[in-house]
Amino acid sequence: MKFQCDKSLLLKELTIAQEIVSNRSTISILSNILLNIDNGKLVLRATDTKTAFESVIPVSADAPGTITVNSEKFIGALKNLPEGLVYFDLQSDGRFQIKSEKRNINYQLRTMGSENYPWIQWETDGTRFDIGQVDLLEMINQTIFSVSDDDSRFLMTGVFFDYQDNVLKLVATDGRRLGFARHEISIGNPFSVIVPTKPLNMIRKLASGQGLIEVMICEKSIVFSLDNQKIYSNFIDGQYPNYQRVIPESQAYTVKIKRDDFSDAIRRVSLMADQKSKRILMTFTSDTAVISSDEGELGMAKEEIPIEFDGPQSMIAMNYQYLLDPLRVFPDSDLYFLFTDTKRAVTLRPSLERNFFHIIMPMQLAD
């Protein structure tokens, strides 16, 4: 096996592959990346057995072959080489030689055979559809931060893809907040699946935002296809919570706030908030919101910002992180904070024309 390739071209793909390669796995071959040279192309594969990445890179190949090498060391070696062409050669003793055209450096990585590499036969039949990269990216970006990081609630550790009546909905929740995004698209049969965050985070890194991405919903897995890359992932198996039941049909009061005023004030006040509960207090009057922290051992903070509000004076306690996360990805300069009761779900949304919103549960005022 012998080939040469531009460093930055290969490194870009390897960095994506590294997302799913486990460096802590007890199965050492899972820490490896598979490299296959055939017909003048390099096929690069990485897997953690539940998610997989495959990329086809055009290279100048002199001899075919297949090996696996430690991902971390391979990337580390490449990163430290100067830009330009890099020469790769599998030696007769099984070591993988890496040489730069510009520096007299010679890496010799140990390899493992590809016969034990756990590349499963991923499903190839399913419901296929194309969706604009910009649309899918926006849906992922608006929801993915709301997934639960608690493994004991594994159903909530993924994003729910729910398609029916020509509308694809993405939903994520950790049981205290919920992100929702919708996109009108004609696909075919309805489906409801839970997709882990790992492949979705890879799409965020891979997708340029231009053109389309092909999605295939199979029986047990999902496949995303870009130009030269494929991402495979098993679904999270189980029944997603009935999210529709917790989305308020209407809210009694609307607060209109400048997004930057709101997020900057929350960020400043949060410095003095209790870092375990992350609770801040918001008091809304007709033209002002007072955002404050609890009185702590080290002090407190309070800031006033202008708002538009026509309801009764109200105080709501919320987790400041639950507010900052969606504010980071809100595209509009104004936002709407809708509520009915200080103990019930709040809706945070940009302009009413947008196809996404967030539901956030308040916190108890007294502790």
Partner: protein, 64 residues
């Protein structure tokens, strides 16, 4: 009793286990793993897990 009941005991629905418990080390660990956010935020969904959070929260408040 503070941190008296683990999430599994609580979710088992066995009132005897919940009420006539001793000190469960696993209950202590489960309660410690609940963040203050989980204890103080109102839940979106009615679930045994959220009921457990409320149970622990009341337990915490009862000794304050």
């Amino acid at each position: 009793m503070l941190y008296s009941c683990g999430v599994n005991e609580y979710m088992s629905g066995d009132r005897k286990k919940v009420e006539n418990h001793g000190f469960y080390p696993q209950g202590f660990m489960a309660a410690k793993s609940l963040s203050m956010n989980n204890l103080l935020s109102y839940p979106l969904f009615n679930s045994p897990y959220n009921n457990y959070c409320n149970f622990i929260y009341k337990d915490l408040r009862s000794v304050q």
